[in-house]
């Protein structure tokens, strides 16, 4: 029989990856807002993602709904364990989301919605990183329920991964703006990119060194033969793509940085999945233990099979419609 649990885990993993890439760059726009003081440039930054951010955010809802459908136990335990960071992330996303609509409708209070956009984007990214870190750390599950305290998620490691995700999204946003803008704004992004990249590498090194210390299982997965041989290209690839990005910034190629940063995200994400497998609630609950009844997984899978290709098609269509660079003189609908 086909293993539905693995298929569903793959679909959710794919959904989360698409979410990280897509909402990553538009959250990154908000994180980069403080570096750009020019109001017209800020308008351009926002207009570069205004038509697509809503669709981007939907991938997170797909991840959540997919978990709810295919692994309700994960939804129940992980969400109650990470109660506080999830609420804070949601509140941040509220501010980020409405800032798009309100900022262009406000006059005197425009700066307030700039703030809402900056803090909403930055904190939403930060708490996503905290959630990620707390999840990697492990969630204490006894008898199919969360058995820890309300603040178990709060550790130096999770705060560190929080900053890491902010950095990652900022770099994605920076590469996106290099792709989508021109002239002055694009130039400032070419100059910002190397700094963000250095920050990102520091975080990568920190997480890679720290994770094996807190988790012997993860350490043994990475550092025993023959895994070590298979996985040794990972740090090499990270350095290679970082160098490629820097070179593209120096020679002012506007498409390459975004492409290469996507590769970086992909490598990081693959590393995360390798560390996790086959658990869905680390350190103890596997995919199969958390799986929903077969009838639920099958029914929801039919919908995914039919609808996901259609969604991907019209998502590409939307990006195609808005493929042009965004300029200072362009008007949004506002």
């Amino acid at each position: 029989m086909i293993d539905l649990a693995i298929i569903w885990a793959s679909i959710i993993a794919l959904g989360v990856l698409i979410y990280i890439v897509l909402d990553g760059f538009d959250l990154g726009i908000g994180i980069l807002f403080p570096f750009i003081k020019n109001h017209k440039h800020r308008d351009v930054m926002m207009n570069s993602v205004a038509p697509v951010w809503d669709g981007n955010e939907t991938w997170m809802v797909l991840g959540g709904a997919g978990l709810f459908a295919a692994f309700p136990l994960v939804y129940a335990t992980v969400l109650s364990a990470l109660y506080i960071p999830i609420i804070l992330m949601l509140v941040s996303l509220i501010f980020r989301g409405v800032a798009f609509e309100f900022r262009f409708k406000a006059h005197r209070s425009k700066y307030l919605w700039d703030w809402a956009f900056i803090w909403g984007s930055t904190l939403a990214s930060f708490f996503q990183g905290v959630i990620l870190g707390a999840y990697i750390q492990g969630i204490h599950v006894v008898n199919n329920a969360y058995a820890g305290g309300p603040l178990d998620w709060l550790t130096p490691f999770s705060l560190f991964t929080g900053v890491g995700v902010v950095m990652m999204y900022a770099a994605l946003g920076c590469a996106w703006l290099i792709l989508k803008t021109k002239e002055d704004l694009q130039q400032s992004m070419y100059h910002l990119m190397p700094k963000l990249l250095i920050g990102l590498l520091v975080i990568f090194v920190g997480v890679s060194l720290y994770t094996p210390f807190i988790h012997p299982e993860i350490a043994s997965r990475w550092f025993t033969m023959p895994n070590l041989l298979y996985l040794s290209p990972v740090p090499v690839l990270v350095l290679l793509f970082s160098w490629l990005i820097l070179r593209a910034c120096r020679t002012q190629c506007d498409k390459q940085p975004f492409l290469y940063i996507l590769c970086l995200v992909l490598i990081t994400y693959a590393g995360f999945l390798i560390s996790l497998w086959p658990n869905i609630i680390p350190p103890s609950v596997t995919l199969w233990q958390a799986a929903a009844p077969h009838s639920s997984q099958l029914f929801a899978l039919i919908g995914v099979g039919i609808l996901l290709p259609i969604i991907i098609a019209y998502t590409i269509l939307t990006y195609w419609v808005f493929k042009n660079k965004v300029g200072v003189d362009d008007e949004g609908y506002h």
Partner: protein, 458 residues
């Protein structure tokens, strides 16, 4: 710390608060999206500038309402995991797939085409733009389909068995098309159109009062009043059919709505118009009632028997005081809407629809009543379901996360109250601001696909 409320009570307050706020916006965007699709279609047909102007004006209000619906909706989805993790664990195998279908078939459709609908003028041709608007409208309706399917299943569950304490679905057709689904879908769908038409009526009434009698205002006023006429009358029928359904499948809820304590075995039941039900004493105070009418309305027979609340153990009874009054508020407002619609018909006939000042005031006053009726209907059906979260299957208290403590729920509730007040307060303020500014005439739209990007179209 939180007025001695337990974590469970706080979680229930939090859910009621966030869902009440949320429902306002999807209800608005369902109706407005369809309204926008209709006026854009009319624009394509007639090429009259007035339709395009109306479209651009109302699409701004739609965008604000839609944005708030999205952000408050995400909170709803995640709340099932944070506060109601036992419900998610036990019943997630049914509600999870339904939510997944909503996200796949509706959420993405709306979000994907919204960009083109709002920002795509000049980037795509008029027909392609209309297609995007149509997709957004379709998405809002599909979304309603799945959410109401999930909610109706929780009200009238079927098509599953219980294995190891977990609900295991067997027949998805039975689950989706559960006994109350079609009634609820029609009732709620009509309510969404009614609510948004009343918003247009109220906003246009305000414009008329301020002396703006341009074709944009009068056309919107007229179209929306026809819609209120159709939907408020339809609501009498759909509401009644849902009442019959509730009598059959949720008799305790119906008895609580009617404050009906004793089963009327051999005499017709009276319809109570006014009373103060007392749950502890098991009787009503200060009652005013119409004899015979209760049986007639509820069962469509003179002598129809309706089970009384006393047939159910006290711990299984919904709170009659709340649902009795929320139900009557909803029905009373619906009749007021019907009265307004027929008055509008009369004024149309007299050709005074746009000039009668008192009617414009009446229209303005009726603007927000749709929302009040919507919320009181929601309270009736949700409070009426208590003490069950899945009717007769899973009690609300057993759906709560056992490890979440009162401080967590209480603090997050306070955070939500503050954030919602600030954010949605601002949103409602901007909607009012847009309504107050009124529609303006935009630059003529060149009906060719090749439009210069930089040309200001809006």
């Amino acid at each position: 710390m939180f007025f001695g409320l337990t974590a469970l009570e706080l979680a229930r307050i939090q859910f009621a608060f966030t869902v009440s706020f949320h429902i306002i916006f999807p209800a608005t965007s369902i109706g407005l999206a369809c309204f926008l699709a209709i006026i854009e279609w009319k624009w394509l047909q007639t090429k009259q500038q007035v339709y395009l102007d109306m479209f651009k004006y109302w699409s701004k209000i739609f965008a604000v309402a839609f944005g708030m619906g999205v952000v408050s909706g995400i909170v709803m989805a995640y709340q099932f995991g944070t506060n109601w993790s036992e419900f998610s664990r036990i019943a997630g195998s049914v509600t999870g797939p339904l939510l997944t279908y909503e996200v796949l078939s509706a959420f993405f459709l709306e979000a994907g085409f919204l960009g083109i609908m709002l920002f795509g003028w000049g980037r795509v041709g008029p027909k392609a733009h209309f297609t995007a608007t149509f997709m957004v409208a379709l998405g809002t309706c599909i979304s309603m389909f799945w959410i109401l399917s999930s909610n109706s299943w929780m009200q009238t569950p079927q098509g599953f068995s219980v294995e190891n304490g977990i609900i295991v679905p067997h027949d998805w057709w039975q689950i989706i098309f559960n006994p109350s689904f079609i009634h609820r879908l029609l009732h709620m769908g009509t309510a969404a159109f009614l609510v948004s038409s009343l918003l247009v009526v109220g906003a246009s009434g305000w414009q008329l009062l301020r002396g703006h009698r341009s074709p944009m205002t009068t056309k919107a006023f007229s179209m929306a009043l026809w819609m209120v006429l159709a939907t408020s009358c339809a609501q009498v029928y759909f509401g009644d059919s849902q009442g019959l359904n509730t009598l059959k499948y949720q008799p305790a809820k119906l008895a609580a709505i009617e404050a009906h304590w004793e089963t009327n075995t051999d005499n017709p039941m009276a319809l109570i118009l006014f009373t103060i039900p007392n749950m502890k004493q098991e009787k009503n105070y200060y009652t005013v009632s119409l004899p015979y009418v209760g049986s007639l309305i509820l069962t469509h027979h003179w002598n129809g028997v309706v089970k009384g609340l006393k047939e159910f153990p006290p711990q299984d009874r919904p709170n009659s005081l709340i649902v009795f009054w929320s139900f009557r508020l909803m029905v009373g407002l619906c009749f007021l809407m019907i009265i307004m619609s027929f008055t509008a018909l009369w004024l149309r006939y007299k050709k005074r629809l746009y000039t009668s000042k008192w009617f414009s005031y009446f229209a303005l006053f009726m603007g927000p009543t749709g929302y009040i009726a919507l919320l009181s209907g929601w309270v009736t059906t949700e409070v009426g379901r208590q003490p069950w979260v899945v009717y007769n299957m899973l009690r609300t208290e057993h759906g709560f996360s056992n490890t979440v403590v009162a401080d967590q729920v209480g603090l997050s509730l306070i955070v939500f109250v503050i954030v919602y007040t600030v954010v949605f307060g601002s949103g409602i303020y901007y909607i009012f601001k847009l309504i107050n500014q009124g529609p303006k005439e935009y630059a003529l739209y060149a009906p060719s696909a090749k439009v210069n990007n930089k040309e200001e179209l809006l």
